[in-house]
Symmetry: C2
Amino acid sequence: MLTRIEMEAYFREAAEHCLPGLSLDCVVIGFHDTQLKVLLLRWKGTDEWSLPGGFILKTESIDAAAQRVLTERTGLDSIFLHQFHVFGEASRYDEEQNWQRMGLVMKPDGTWPARTVSVGYFALVDFAQVKPSPDALTDECRWWEIATVPDLLFDHTHIVEVALNTLRTQLAWQPVGYKLLPEKFTMPDLQRLYETILGRKLDTRNFAKKISALGVVERLEERRTGGAFKSPYLYHFDRERYAQALREGSLGLG
Amino acid sequence: MLTRIEMEAYFREAAEHCLPGLSLDCVVIGFHDTQLKVLLLRWKGTDEWSLPGGFILKTESIDAAAQRVLTERTGLDSIFLHQFHVFGEASRYDEEQNWQRMGLVMKPDGTWPARTVSVGYFALVDFAQVKPSPDALTDECRWWEIATVPDLLFDHTHIVEVALNTLRTQLAWQPVGYKLLPEKFTMPDLQRLYETILGRKLDTRNFAKKISALGVVERLEERRTGGAFKSPYLYHFDRERYAQALREGSLGLG
DNA sequence: CCAAAAGTGTTTCAGATACACCCATGG
DNA sequence: CCATGGGTGTATCTGAAACACTTTTGG
């Protein structure tokens, strides 16, 4: 449980160096084991989870702040980030209940932290490269399957929903495959990824045909061995052609 | 030119009732005479133009604030608004030059107004319904053709660019026709609108065929008379089917 | 040898594109 | 009567969807 001392130090620090009333929250998305995952933090001494987020330094751009926050949480240093929405409902921080769930105590003057507007980012990361680490206010940082995410603090459940919706509708213009898959991947990997995001099955032959026709991937001699059953070929993206397909919005697939 | 008194009153007012460091700017888009137009304000006693914008009351959601700001500028009271991006570069308000262009004088302590983060909205409105009116700090409020928009204050030129790009890439999911055209319109009106946004000519027969196939419009008995040449039929949108086509993203048209 | 995933081509259909002429209207 | 934009149908092509069997591998 957070002590009053810890909480006060945290907010004093933020008030001094950061923009007032503005924060950011990141929906970090990874893909593993045919599932989309999202990175969540658990608040000290509680069972309450929230998105990784933070404040913006007075001399820092919001994009840079998001990078900084995520570098600390994931150990990665050049993360694909996309700002997707601002959450500015007057009520989003109004409820005392949320602060109590976090294990925060009231400020000495009997009030709770004031209304904050939050800028939402989604990050697309290679699951395998991330080393999740909690911060001073949280006990744990780990991946959750999208389908099993618990009820989050504040409006974070809503923020996750909006992020996923945005990802779906912008599938054609976002580097989903490029950023979520490792350097080398198999055609079934890529297909599972699209199926998961779109929420429906795709035809194997048509999928392979379309991806090949776009020329965004190159097949390697290598195969992935060690799994059960027939060993699939490995592929990697052709950086140039992938970028071009994104510009033209031809990676929507349906 | 704005006096120090006026400026001070304005910022004192804002500081007292509004969220600090946060503003919003609106790219109000209309369509007239085969051209997209944007609504701009001219600052008192200067030739400098900017987007209509404002601050967010402490108890108000950002969306509500945008509605409020635009109601005052356009005379409309239920405007289609879409939040599309947050502009949070640390440098966007840094340059004294911008404040000087606006005709603002330095604050008494020798500083300029501090960094502000701005939430960008685009509004789609029926050109004919708008009654542009300036506010206390501006002399004039009027439509500009997109192609002839002058160099705007701060990063507003950039904001307009981002708004138009967003409009183009989200064409399939935004109620562009429904909101930009009047109640009754002709097929050529609708086609010109799409051509303008997409930046290319479309085939008349194919366009009419596709729109009809989607069933989003209904042809009226009435024709538009008074123009030169053959009188075109009038149409109106089928509200239900239009909404459905938007949900399915089938109004992209190529 | 069996179970399960990987890999591969052809046919069919729908939607997109290309294309040209007559009509109505105001000046 | 003429200049200009409005209105309409068909043939063709391209890309999407439907569809099944053989191969490989570990257990």
